[in-house]
């Protein structure tokens, strides 16, 4: 009796597995409004898209840790679908080992091009060596990877250090090189947190009156950003504060709420600067609560697929395809807000 049961269940498992594969393509594709789709594919998509039909692209994503990341994923998926790319998408759930596994399985599957957004900077050499041996070109997107130049075709994405610098420069100008700043950092150890902190400090170098008086992690989340700010506002340091620099918009949005609850005006009493440029951040700028956000464009889909198509044809690409990060302050926020879909 038990063997029969076991066999039955095993069969059911197999059936579920196969069935799951078949149906998943239809069920997981989230319904999108038409204009959202148009927008995700449009940036720079002038006439003459490169022919990418039939290209087999493996993309290893970090995860779905933020709205920014989801927009990034959506942009790649939508672009791939529009241009007939056979996209293999793998989600690493913020774990490097999962991403390495995904890349290795792309190699085993024999895809044409591999693209990935590294979870962390280091540790990619062995697996990229393997890709090189297998003759599969690699595109690194969004975050830097610390590997020799010969291991990848191109890096497409923003420069976190530069983002931090831009935010720092803007803030220095706004405060006339004088003031006390609180810094809300990202998840300890993560690349954007490390780099944005580094860039920001570079911008502040030599400006003795511009001081970072408080630095604490807000884990890139609104809730934590709010909690940290709330505690800070009650300390003696809090009363001397002129500005807040948050490593991403979400933490800034949380911090703004805490500043308000402490009876101060964010945007005027305390200047708030952050990075990413998500929709809610623009809304906050329109409301006058956020002063400035450095855009970190997540819509890399077109650029990645263009690059993939080119590499597949054997073209050599520049090692660095920079996505220009814009910087937006309250003066342009109202105009820009309707264009923000992520």
């Amino acid at each position: 009796m038990n063997t029969k049961l076991a066999a039955l269940s095993l069969f059911a498992l197999g059936a579920m597995f196969l069935g799951g594969c078949g149906s998943s393509t239809t069920t997981e594709e989230p319904a999108k409004t038409p204009e959202a789709k148009a927008n995700t594919t449009t940036p720079g998509s002038a006439a003459g898209d490169l022919d990418a039909k039939g290209l087999k692209l493996g993309f290893a994503q970090v995860g779905a840790e933020s709205g920014w990341r989801t927009a990034n994923t959506e942009s790649i998926k939508a672009e791939a679908q529009a241009r007939g790319v056979d996209l293999k998408f793998a989600d690493a759930q913020q774990k490097q080992e999962n991403q390495i596994k995904a890349i290795k399985s792309f190699i085993a599957q024999g895809v044409d091009v591999i693209a990935f957004s590294p979870v962390v900077e280091t540790g990619w050499e062995p697996v990229l060596q393997e890709a090189k041996k297998a003759g599969i070109p690699v595109i690194i997107s969004d975050r830097r990877a610390d590997v020799p130049d010969d291991l990848y075709a191109t890096f497409i994405g923003s420069d976190f250090i530069k983002e931090g610098q831009m935010a720092g420069d803007w803030l220095a100008k706004k405060l006339n090189n004088k003031g006390n700043i609180a810094e809300l950092t990202g998840t300890p150890g993560s690349a954007p947190a490390n780099d944005r902190a580094k860039g920001f400090r570079q911008a502040l170098e030599g400006k003795a009156d511009l001081k970072i008086v408080f630095t604490q992690t807000g884990d890139f989340t609104r809730a934590k950003g709010k909690e940290v700010m709330e505690a800070l506002m009650k300390s003696p340091t809090g009363s001397t504060l002129n500005a807040v620099f948050a490593h991403n918009d979400d933490m800034a949005l949380g911090a703004i709420q805490a500043i308000e609850e402490a009876g101060k005006k964010p945007g005027s009493d305390i200047i708030v600067v952050s990075i990413d440029g998500v929709h809610d951040a623009f809304q906050a700028m329109v409301d006058g609560k956020l002063n400035c956000t450095v855009e970190c464009n997540p819509l890399l889909g077109k650029a990645i697929i263009d690059a993939a198509a080119k590499v597949k044809k054997g073209e050599t690409l520049p090692k660095r395809t920079v996505i220009e990060d814009g910087i937006f302050d309250q003066s342009v926020a109202a105009k820009e807000l309707p264009n923000r879909k992520y």
Partner: protein, 325 residues
């Protein structure tokens, strides 16, 4: 086969057959899935997880739990990386230090648990925080390891046909599994571990060295976690303080899938190996599928785990019914 061995082997047989079926189903569905290369990847990619799971198996067999293994792996990796790149210690020594550190921290946890009777869950949860804190204090940034000898180690592998190869990490993993199997089955330590899991109080009254053995299981688990950190450093040729976040849950899941009971006393190292491979096959199959979004990946993994538990439960019930008649 006597009833004893059947009861012990049944969960393994179930896991093994589900694993085979899963692999075959995926092989039918996806090109290139059933290849030596994918199999070798499976071992290489899960070497650190596997080594950690083997150590954890002993702890779980005693009825305990070790939640610190993930962050201890992170600590091990960053310690090795710092020693090689910053302190310029020779890799051969630097790669042994994390194992010693893991063993020492495991000893501390084991002492609190076995000698002072603190609950393992809390002690090792504190261990998780402690290791992560120390690791981040050593270096918040990940550290690339540049050393000729180290590079030789990472690149060293046994070439196999069909573009497959067996890396150093894979070999260590296989050795650890064998070592673990022998330790569990052929040593007094191993049998005492099972006895403690069966009934710690009785084991103590039988005159077995219960406390000492308990401490040693946590030392073993810590050493395996440290070794896991070393393997991860070899795997990525870098050290990163936040690597291994949440890995303890993966490790527990693999041990449980392998048929080891969390209440202790029943289970095996071989089962853990099968559990690691099963989780690996599920992950690989999802990548081969390549269409699941982030959230569906989570839901599918959760559903497969649930399915696994239910099958185990059904068979366990059927077996129990069979025994009473």
């Amino acid at each position: 086969m006597s009833r004893a061995s059947l009861k012990e082997k049944l969960p393994i047989l179930i896991t093994a057959s589900v694993l085979v079926l899963l692999t075959l189903a995926a092989g039918l569905r996806f090109d290139n899935f059933l290849s030596l290369r994918v199999l070798m990847n499976l071992i290489a990619d899960n070497a650190f997880l596997g080594v950690i799971a083997v150590g954890l198996t002993f702890v779980i067999l005693t009825g305990g739990i070790d939640l610190s293994v993930g962050s201890m792996m992170g600590l091990g990796g960053i310690v090795a990386a710092e020693l090689i790149t910053v302190s310029h210690v020779h890799p051969l020594i630097a790669l042994l230090v994390p194992i010693a550190v893991g063993g020492f921290l495991g000893w501390g946890q084991g002492t609190l648990i076995a000698k002072l009777g603190l609950p393992p869950f809390l002690v090792t949860l504190s261990g998780l925080f402690l290791c992560r804190g120390i690791a981040l204090a050593i270096s918040r940034e990940s550290v690339q390891i540049e050393h000729p000898f180290f590079r030789t180690l990472t690149n060293w592998s046994v070439s196999l046909p069909a573009k497959a190869s067996l890396s150093l990490g894979s070999i260590v993993f296989i050795l650890v599994v064998f070592g673990g199997m022998i330790l569990a089955r052929q040593s007094r330590f191993g049998r005492t571990v099972y006895a403690i899991g069966g009934n710690a109080n009785s084991a103590e009254l039988m005159g077995l060295p219960v406390r000492r053995t308990l401490v040693w299981t946590y030392v073993l688990s810590g050493m395996c976690a440290g070794l896991g950190g070393v393997l991860f450093a070899l795997y990525t040729s870098s050290g990163n303080a936040i690597s291994g976040t949440g890995l303890e849950l993966d490790a527990i899941a693999t041990v449980v899938i392998g048929g080891t009971l969390l209440s202790g006393g029943y289970g095996s190292v071989l089962g853990t190996l099968l559990g690691v491979l099963t989780l690996g096959v599920v992950q690989t199959a999802i990548t081969f599928m390549g269409t699941l979004s982030s959230w569906w990946t989570r839901i599918v993994i959760g559903t497969l785990l649930l399915f696994f538990m239910l099958v185990q439960k059904v068979i366990e019930l059927a077996a129990r019914r069979g025994q009473t008649t």
